[in-house]
């Protein structure tokens, strides 16, 4: 069957399977899901009783201000180069500089001011750079979940084997399960605007951890769970599965991405992770400190810690984050928790735009706000059938600098 035909068919099946279910929300916790849903306009294919909510699935978005400030401090050290992924460079943080002034800073701004900040597409690029310029300290600003952390592990192992002393890591890797438990714990009586009944589990995290690592979602959180790929048909098929579980009244876990995800995952990657990292408390933007939700270097690998020893910045040269005061405070926190949609933030599309992002959810192209802004306010994509029935060439509801999405037609 052709792809588009498959998507149309799955949309019809989803309408069938979800019929009669009370309104419910499904959280996706992968920025690439958020991006794909917005990019393909999938919200327009969903029945009216299903709502998609973005969770803390974008590693750039959940990186705490304090961690970014550490990266900024390192970038301001002499003969030091900070390397990270593209989106990480753009996140603005309100900081106080050592000279006492405050302002919005980002790694990209520091680069614009002449500091050595480089964009890489693989952690191994940093090893190559460090070997080419032995007189310069290279800091790998490591963000990402289980999918990306093994790459940092390989980097450190290769750096040690090759005897590269001028490579350090600012480790901000995080892991999903503890954060999801903290966020979605049914014992927490936090009133939800719309109950989250299902979880679209991140396919590429599961490729590393294995599908079984998400068993806690139905068992402990009581949520329907489906591991999903990233094509439009993958996401719709996973939603069909979630609807089916809800109809049965039996939350379970189904691997809807068997092409890539195995029950036990990638054992080589898991072995490397436990060899080099240990679980640690991590601070998530919007969620706060969560025990065992981060990865820190094991004692045997501490020599690579950028905050340890030789690179440890002079306290007098430290860039500190400054808490945003209301009413200018951005709502990335509640948005990352799924409590609010980007439309609920008073800054969205007003003080906070893609050109002038105030919070990381607008910076990262995987962030819920950037997706909502770029691809239509609140995901107000339009289903073509209805579009042509209405007989107009216009799509409403996007980017009009107004808060309420227009209802098309």
């Amino acid at each position: 069957m052709e792809k588009r035909e498959m998507v149309a068919r799955l949309a019809d099946i989803l309408a069938e399977t979800s019929r009669g279910l009370p309104d419910f929300a499904v959280m996706e916790v992968c920025g690439t899901h958020t991006h794909a849903i917005a990019r393909y306009g999938l919200s327009a294919l969903l029945p009216s009783n299903i709502r998609l909510v973005s969770g803390p699935g974008c590693p750039v978005c959940v990186t705490a201000d304090e961690t970014i400030a550490q990266a900024l401090t390192l970038a301001r050290q002499p003969a030091t180069c900070v390397c990270s992924f593209g989106d990480m460079l753009r996140v603005p943080v309100r900081v106080q500089y050592p000279e006492g002034e405050t302002g919005l800073d980002s790694l990209l701004r520091e680069r614009g001011l002449g500091r050595d900040v480089r964009l890489v597409v693989s952690p191994l690029d940093v090893l190559r750079l460090a070997q080419a310029e032995p007189d310069r300290q290279f800091v790998w600003f490591a963000v990402g979940f289980e999918t990306t952390a093994p790459a940092t592990a390989v980097l450190l192992r290769q750096a040690r084997a090759a005897g590269v002393p001028n490579l350090k890591v600012l480790c901000a890797h995080k892991t999903m399960p503890a954060a999801l438990q903290a966020l979605l714990d049914p014992a927490d009586s936090k009133p939800a605007k719309q109950p989250i009944r299902g979880l679209l589990c991140p396919g590429h995290v599961a490729a590393i951890t294995g599908a079984n690592a998400f068993q806690f979602v139905p068992r402990q959180l009581g949520l329907a769970a489906a591991i999903s790929g990233f094509e439009p048909e993958d996401i719709l098929a996973a939603l069909v599965e979630l609807s089916r579980q809800l109809h049965r009244g039996q939350p379970g876990l189904r691997n809807m991405y068997p092409a890539v995800v195995r029950p036990n995952g990638n054992l080589a990657a898991q072995g490397l992770l436990s060899q080099i990292f240990q679980p640690s408390t991590a601070t998530w933007r919007g969620l706060g400190e969560i025990p065992a939700s981060g990865l820190s270097l094991r004692p045997a690998w501490q020599e690579f810690d950028a905050l340890n020893g030789s690179l440890s910045p002079d306290p007098a040269a430290t860039v500190c984050p400054v808490a945003e005061t209301k009413p200018s405070a951005c709502h990335c926190g509640p948005v990352l928790r799924g409590d609010e949609s980007p439309l609920d933030c008073p800054l969205f599309m007003r003080a906070c735009t893609e050109a002038n992002p105030r919070g990381p959810c607008m910076v990262s192209s995987e962030g819920a706000c950037a997706a909502a802004s770029r691809y239509g306010t609140g995901g107000a994509a339009v289903r073509l059938k209805e579009h042509y029935r209405a007989g107009s060439g216009a799509v409403s509801g996007h980017n009009e600098f107004r808060k309420e999405p227009d209802i098309y037609g």
Binding site: P123, G144, P150, A151, H204, A237, V240, R244
Partner: protein
């Protein structure tokens, strides 16, 4: 969170794999996927091959899902 792209393993030389993305190749590190063979389809993330693809499993699941039109009607 994790952009990963499918490609075909065209060659393996120690830890270095040559991955063909349909007309253009790039090197990827194979450390995380010691079992991968030349000819396998793999998913690549941040310069690392992270999973061998089993396309038959994916197609079968999609076929099953798309066939069960009667889902939920009961």
């Amino acid at each position: 969170m994790c952009l990963a792209i499918p490609g075909k393993v065209a060659a393996i030389n120690a830890q270095q794999g040559t991955i063909d993305y349909g007309g253009v190749t790039r090197q990827a590190d194979m450390t995380l996927l010691p079992q991968a063979q030349v000819g396998d389809m793999v998913m690549v993330h941040a310069g690392f091959a992270i999973a061998v693809m089993d396309q038959a499993a994916g197609e079968e699941l999609m076929r099953l899902t798309a066939e069960l039109d009667s889902y939920g009607k009961a």
